[in-house]
């Protein structure tokens, strides 16, 4: 009953055989729990656990060239959450192809490469370079609130999004996931546009636009003024987004995320209609959180054979 006690014996390093795999757009994940983009770094995380234990690893957004990101401060706390404006700092796709990606594959990880851009051409350039790479899936991030051009704007306009995804679709056979923003009036409309463009799966949600101010100075804490809110605070909002998209697109594979901090939270996303989930902010405050959550979910699924069966279909409660 007391959850605090329930993982006393949890050992992120002990060999563990997951009993409940899932599938996302035909790709088998050994368990339904992945690391979310931007909250996983290979060098940092492999010190704490074996990265092949996760269902998938979604890497930090990669852009055509190196991006230096936003000035600091880049983060602020909020109740049960955090606001970040990293601004997609990354060494660029060429570096990614020779460094992080091969190392991740060598370690046995299932890799979802997150693709960032300031323009349609940017996305196309990155996808072109990834088309023959060992990446298992591509995740097109049209939902980052922290870059001035491209980023979120690409994910708020269904017409532009469908055009972008159609273009990228033609460039690769890799399963293509489109990552959606919740900062829209109708997420189902955007999801449909991504589907029409040829998305094989959707991941949601990216962060919500938010800010904090310092009441001693009266100024924003984050240099970028606004940032993206993540963490448990956004859990109910993310669940509603997943549920709405599942209602609109009954067959579309969905990777759910937003505030997941326990196996029970992950299970809630599966009931809302996700086929798999990813863990973001929770991994920042405990490096081994994604592994813990994967084990907790595995145990919860043992008690729910009916759900395990339909897992790959995205079994919402309806």
């Amino acid at each position: 009953m007391d959850e605090r006690m329930s993982m006393d014996g949890f050992d992120p390093l002990e060999p563990y055989t997951y009993r409940h795999p899932t599938q996302v757009a035909g790709v088998v994940w050994k368990n339904p729990v992945g690391a979310a983009s931007g909250t996983f770094k290979l060098d940092a995380c492999q010190d704490f656990y074996d990265v092949s234990q996760l269902g998938a690893i979604s890497t930090k957004g990669v852009s055509p060239v190196a991006w230096e990101g936003n000035p600091t401060p880049r983060t602020a706390e909020s109740p049960s959450g955090m606001v970040n404006a990293v601004g997609l700092q990354n060494p660029g796709v060429d570096d990614y192809l020779v460094d992080e990606l091969p190392r991740l594959k060598d370690l046995g990880a299932l890799v979802v490469t997150n693709v960032a851009g300031h323009s349609d051409d940017d996305y196309a350039q990155v996808v072109a370079k990834l088309a023959d790479s060992p990446a298992d899936m591509l995740e097109i991030n049209v939902s980052c609130p922290n870059v001035t051009h491209g980023g979120m704007s690409a994910g708020t306009d269904p017409v532009g999004l469908e055009r972008l995804i159609s273009r990228l679709r033609a460039m690769t056979d890799k399963p293509m996931v489109v990552k959606l923003t919740p900062n829209v009036t109708d997420i189902a409309a955007v999801a449909r546009a991504a589907a029409n463009g040829g998305a094989d799966a959707l991941s949601l949600i990216n962060t919500l636009v938010g800010m904090r101010l310092d009441t001693t100075t009266g100024r924003p804490i984050i240099d970028n003024v606004t940032g993206g809110v993540s963490g448990p605070a956004i859990l109910p909002i993310a669940l509603a987004c997943v549920w709405k998209v599942r209602q609109a697109l009954p067959e579309m594979p969905i990777i759910g995320m937003g505030g997941i901090a326990s196996g029970s939270d992950a299970l809630e996303f599966l009931y809302a209609g996700a086929n798999a989930v990813e863990v973001g902010a929770a991994a920042l405050v405990d490096p081994v959180a994604p592994v813990r959550i994967a084990r907790q979910l595995d145990e919860l699924l043992d008690q729910r054979p009916e759900l395990a069966e339909t897992l790959e279909k995205g079994s919402s409660w309806k």
Binding site: F40, K41, F48, E68, G263, D286, V288
Partner: protein
């Protein structure tokens, strides 16, 4: 319907498992051994029993503490100030919500922690170390004094500037060879460095520093003018503290680095703080 960001995981168990596999231990729950107010409340001392962190931390490294309040999610990084067997001391000030919650901890309570994190000061050269600290930057320098006190070939001269109460003097004096300190009405650490200069041999000295950026830049200029190698420990708002999120960037001559994992200690050269 769980919404907890962590689970209770006793430190001994987490550490034993990690070490057996050659991994670093993740977040874990440690016991508070002592919690005191220093010098009329200018700062607080928290002693935590975490054998792994206490026995592996080097001066300049820090630990993440997590407020005993799940709604204050982000880590609170604190420089390790002193270690004693299985215990480590942290010296901190109450700033906002998280430190206010930490200040309510009593001996016997539990607190979650991660670390040690970051790269320590390089104390490998023999000679005289000037430990130049301001305000709440002093904790890692106390650890440096402690480390240097074990060595025959090095001396530690603490040079501490305070706003008011000289709360850390007794802590550092226990290990430092000399302790110089000053508080704001009288001057700052540069005042002290200038006073100490006659006794200084720049060729066999090094500066290690931590404190407000303005202070550290002044120290960097002072050191550069005398060709004294200097290392600085930076502070930045963090998302993770262990290198996963790139929230804590700093521009260096080697490019944009992470304060938490590539630092918090950087040389004056790396920071480009080399103009006298």
């Amino acid at each position: 319907m769980s919404i907890q960001t962590t689970q209770f995981r006793p430190t001994e168990q987490v550490v034993a498992q990690a070490q057996a596999e050659g991994k670093r231990p993740g977040r874990r729950t440690a016991k508070v051994s002592a919690a005191l107010s220093l010098e009329g409340g200018a700062a607080r001392l928290l002693t935590v029993r975490d054998p792994y962190a206490a026995r592996t931390a080097s001066a300049g490294q820090f630990v993440n503490l997590y407020a005993p309040d799940p709604s204050a999610m982000l880590p609170r990084p604190f420089g390790v100030a002193r270690t004693d067997g299985d215990e480590l001391d942290l010296v901190y000030q109450v700033i906002g919500r998280g430190t206010a919650a930490l200040a309510r901890l009593k001996p016997g309570d539990e607190v979650d922690l991660l670390g040690p994190l970051g790269r320590p000061y390089d104390l490998s050269r023999p000679g005289d170390y000037l430990l130049v600290g301001g305000g709440l930057g002093v904790p890692p320098l106390i650890a440096a004094a402690q480390a240097l006190s074990q060595r025959a070939d090095a001396r530690a001269i603490a040079v501490f500037g305070y706003q008011n109460e000289r709360f850390a003097d007794p802590l550092v004096a226990a290990s430092a060879d000399r302790t110089l300190s000053i508080s704001e009405p009288e001057g700052d650490v540069i005042t002290l460095l200038d006073r100490f200069e006659p006794q200084l041999d720049p060729a066999r000295s090094a500066i290690i520093s931590c404190g407000p950026t303005a202070m550290m830049k002044a120290v960097a200029a002072w050191a550069a003018a005398r060709s004294i190698p200097a290392q600085f420990s930076l502070e930045e708002r963090m998302g993770c503290g262990y290198g996963a999120c790139v929230a804590c960037a700093v521009d260096t001559v080697d490019g944009r680095l992470k304060v938490c994992a590539d630092g918090p200690v950087f040389t004056g050269e790396q920071l480009g703080w080399t103009n006298a």
